[in-house]
Symmetry: C4
Subunit: 224 residues, 4 copies
């Protein structure tokens, strides 16, 4: 019952070649539920959680998220290199967008990525502006830095690229400059967000996907 | 089978420190179903039912509604104070928006709150006007004061605030002046509605959420 | 497996006070599935099937369609009067909109009614015009009178009213004049359609609800 | 676990009058899941997979896809003629749109067809233009010819017709001229796509349906 809030780095006393089963199954169940909501068409998106100070479990490349299971995670180090016993396997092409977060903030234990209709659309629509501004929504309180709806939240947008190494470095610069960042968009591609626990990453993901849909539908209304 | 219509205050002969299990499970099941429809993203929304003349069961603070269970309710009195055996626990931050209804109308047994896309959008869009007008819809007959579609229904809208005590008093004034009120919106935040039974509160919630979606989609059509 | 196509009037050799269980359960299952798609908010909509030349099973008044079961049907005659053993019970307020169809066409065995977002919207939008025109859609071939998409289909729209007896007579006149009619809208209220079997009524309902959604979404596009 | 990627022509050593059960059940499960997403209203759409060099299993005519099972496939040859033991049965009216693909490309093992809201709408909207252009979307990488989002993808659109033989020949000419084609639209009707395996056809279908919805919703936004 309930999504795990336990600090993942406590696992560091365990055998490091083993992916914690309960956590992997909990996240896999959410990945299937998010797929059913349309957040991961085709074989898009990727997900990870911290297994130790120097390693994470991340989704393998090209998996269909409608039937994602705990066996679809593999271990990599903070450079994105496959760790035993997964040497022969390939992790998500966007692995470095995960590792940069675990490297830069040891409090981060879960990183999630969606590829939704509204994330795809709005990241493209506001690319030139460089961010999407959200304010006055009660649901902004689901984000950790806010305890009121009377705030201005800016969701950064990066241009899409196939050079993931460069993108991860660009993101690192932004994150070092603005360490309270809890999410960003990649244009025509989707949303990245993270948290201290599965529960927190889920809360960020759901709040942001909801606000993206609200924002899009608000754009369609004529002013009055 | 069927949602309970029995008068909740009849429970008053029971041990008052016990939350009626069957009712709690019935409402918890609906809370999960409404979550699946997108009515409670992140950990938003809250729900309650009357347990006696001076007490109610209300959802605990910060629960994920996708897996809400009967154990996620706690007992509070009409001032919103935790009752034994729940002294150490925290009820929803919006508890006073529930208690004011049980205080002012002893026929009310269930209070529900949604945080939907259309409730969020339209409560913001019509805030200056102070209400949202709906008329000529057959589904208005699902509301207790109407037996025809040829009516004008006004759904009051309050500005959002983090001062829940003030908001509950503002609502109390409105309710005392207009005791047939069966629902209201909070801007950028969502819908509150209630009823004599779970079945009635569900009917109000579903009718209003449907009409909010219809109203939004009608706004997008050009006049012709 | 498969929805029943057997002629319902063959049941006439059975005990007429009994509602055929298998058919009732098949239709009840569909009613729950349509509810999950949003076609019957609150306690709206009603459904019936022929049990004999002079009687039908119809949904009882005020039932929640999310948990509709075979026990939620009752027997009425072609004037809409409750038949034994259901004398004390009340059938849907719109019973006469069903009986008129069974009276006028002995080939009709199932009548269904939805209360969808797009049916509510478009029946209101085109009320003055008196009908909604659909053409060039492949899915029009799901309707019995067409074997091509190159047709013009007109879905009649009646103004909403609480005088169901008058509405049923108005519909009777239309049906006698245009006996190939297979569906109509009531403004701000929803869709009625029917068929020789559950399978046929389901095909009409799904085709028309789909085309209503397509038509609405087409209206939002600028010409180009 | 996972959708089959094994080359279907390896089945050619088996008894050719038998439809491979595991493959039929896997595809049937997907057909039901796509129906639940609204991709096959009424009894629309059809699906097939290669059983041997000269034969395929294809959905029987008029089946309801909400309860499609492995028994709803039948064997036909590359001219679309029913093979034993299915001589008395009728395959989908659009069988020749499937056979042309198996004839022209022996690497194709699965052909799927959806009839979605956005496929219906956009195929009609862009008919005069003859195709729908998609570019700069990350999800274009789910299509086999692309390894970047920086591409222009053109989805061909054919006018709708009831002359399926002619349409299959028109498509054959296009396919011979442009053998990298992996999908096309028929106006007011829907999408055809295919692949070497169920997994690949599913990836194409989901990526294209997602991009159709994104494209439609982008058309509604005012330029800024």
């Amino acid at each position: 019952m309930g999504f795990s809030l336990r600090p993942f780095h406590l696992f560091s006393c365990y055998d490091m070649s083993i992916i914690p089963k309960e956590t992997a199954e909990q996240l896999a169940q959410l990945i299937r539920a998010w797929n059913a909501k349309g957040f991961s068409p085709a074989t898009s998106t990727n997900y990870s959680f911290r297994v130790g100070a120097d390693r994470l479990a991340i989704s393998k490349s090209g998996r269909d998220k409608s039937q994602f299971s705990a066996q679809d995670f593999m271990l990599v180090d903070l450079k994105g290199r496959a760790l035993p016993p997964f040497e022969g396997e390939r992790s998500s092409a966007e692995t470095l967008l995960h590792t940069v977060l675990y490297e830069e903030n040891e409090a981060i234990n879960v990183v999630v990525h969606t590829h939704s209709i509204y994330g795809t659309l709005l990241s493209d629509y506001y690319l030139k502006q460089g961010n999407l501004r959200l304010s006055q929504y009660e649901l902004l309180k689901a984000l950790p830095q806010f305890d009121s709806h009377e705030v201005d939240f800016e969701l950064p947008i990066f241009p899409n690229t196939q050079d993931i190494e460069q993108l991860s470095e660009d993101f690192r610069q932004l994150y070092l400059a603005q360490p309270t960042t809890i999410a960003y968009l990649i244009a025509g591609h989707g949303l990245y967000t993270w948290g201290k626990s599965i529960a927190e990453a889920k809360r960020h993901l759901e709040a942001l996907e909801f606000l993206l849909e609200v924002h899009y539908k608000k754009l369609l209304l004529a002013p009055h």
